[in-house]
């Protein structure tokens, strides 16, 4: 009935490789091999499409319990040992999560929304890492510029939100005051390529000249040309930016800019530039890394490694707009409160 693989073969291979290859050093902590380092073992030459491009095609999941930023408790510890990974995964599996009713009768309990069985956050650590961010070395986002801090005082910046209504202290006058996520529009970038609470499935399809990445959360398809390099006019701005790809050996390199100012990530919007690298590691995994730079927002570029693991599951449509009664309920609640 349930065809979810217990441990993706690629992850198991990485753990085994780490156990065999990890050198111990005089400095103490062994640094295991990881899919996001160049030292990843390839099991065979990279497969090719019929027209000779490296073949990245398939359906993948990026769900993981590894957070984007390293928790404070782990400080400078970038990697866990395989034993620690197993312990962490076991602890995560037994944690109550959304089924907790602690604080019943408070907004905190309301905000947990619904039972754990509705969520699909994943059960596994990404490689052996304590954070998806691999640079800066502390595994955390670099500090924001003073300009960005000031800019963010008036805008909600979690995932991709920019709301004039929120800036003026109104949050429920209209759907326009709600986040792009609540309005079923987009998580924008880089949010659309980062793990989240569910819909962590991606499908890559290639044709001569294009790589298409279908994203489960919202009906997004990133259509990335690899055959030519042309740039849009500076006034053309897009929710997911404008992507241009090229091959470097077996790696797809994608450069994206021309982001709209209607969405932001930590305050980064129209000045954001993202460089992504997709490299097939073996039949089961793609090593995916993204580097975000915006000198007007981040004091340094930052890079995250998000392992993509092949899944036998399908990618399901997320026709969010069609069923969004909740948005209407939020506005209705505000109108009701005003009448009292």
């Amino acid at each position: 009935m349930n065809s979810r693989p217990a441990v993706p073969a690629g992850l198991l291979a990485l753990v085994v490789a780490a156990l065999l290859a990890a050198p111990s050093t005089a400095l103490g902590q062994a640094r295991p091999a990881d899919s996001s380092t160049a030292a990843a073992e390839k099991t065979s030459p990279a497969p090719r499409t019929a027209w000779g491009d490296p073949d990245l095609q398939g359906t993948y999941t990026i769900k993981t319990i590894t957070p984007l930023q390293r928790p404070a408790q782990f400080a400078d510890k970038a990697f866990l040992t395989p034993e620690e990974v197993a312990e962490f995964e076991k602890a995560a599996a037994s944690a109550i999560g959304a089924d907790s009713r602690e604080g019943a009768g408070t907004d905190a309990d309301v905000s947990r929304a619904y039972n754990e069985f509705w969520w699909d956050r994943g059960t596994q650590v990404a490689g052996l890492r304590t954070s998806l961010i691999v640079d800066p070395p502390n595994g955390r986002l670099p500090p924001l510029t003073p300009e960005a801090i000031e800019r963010n005082r008036f805008e909600t910046t979690r995932w991709a939100f920019r709301s004039a209504g929120a800036a003026q202290g109104r949050g429920t006058d209209s759907w326009l005051d709600r986040s792009l996520f609540e309005r079923c529009i987009t998580r924008a970038m880089p949010g659309s390529m980062l793990p989240t609470a569910y819909n962590n499935t991606y499908r890559i399809v290639q044709t001569p000249g294009y790589v298409a990445i279908q994203i489960e959360m919202f009906p997004h398809v990133r259509l990335i040309p690899v055959a030519e390099r042309r740039e849009l006019g500076d006034n053309v701005r897009l929710w997911l930016g404008d992507s241009r790809g090229h091959w470097e050996g077996d790696t797809l390199v994608v450069e994206t800019d021309h982001f709209t100012d209607k969405a932001s990530y930590q305050g980064s919007a129209e000045n954001m530039r993202i460089v992504e690298r997709f490299t097939r590691v073996n039949d089961e995994a793609i090593d995916y890394q993204l580097t975000v730079e915006d000198p007007t927002t981040f004091t340094a570029p930052w890079t995250a490694a998000v392992p993509m693991t092949r899944t036998d599951e399908d990618l399901y449509e997320y026709a969010c707009h069609e069923g969004n009664y909740g948005l209407e309920g939020i506005l209705s609640a505000a109108r009701s409160a005003e009448r009292e």
Binding site: A91, S100, R112, N115, G171, N199, Y316, S332, A333
Partner: protein, 134 residues
Amino acid sequence: MRTFMLTTAACLLAGGLAVSAHHSFSAEFDANQPVRLQGTVTKVEWINPHTWIHIDVKDDDGKVVAWMIEGGTPNTLLRNGITKNSLPAGTEIVVDGYRAKDGRNRANGRDLTYPDGTKLFLGSSLEGAQGGER
């Protein structure tokens, strides 16, 4: 070390919940109006972003009142072998949730169970109440 891992894991999961909650549930539902409903499923809207389960609830006077209960994405359920046949009309369920702030007969399905206490979709004393086909 085990306690450390358990605490960290729990913190990560708990911290991740509010960030990832699709809507602002506390803007839609009232923490001061908890409800506990037992009713019969009349229909299920397997839609995104949230499944809505319609139930008929008998009030104290025996009058039947229709409620709408908000759940999560059906996509996750599909991944676990649940289908649109898994919650047929006529199934008795218990809803522990919070009523909509606008006073309508809507609630979020904060905790959904069968009358015997088992979680919805994960097990039931009701024969055939849970489908298993993919």
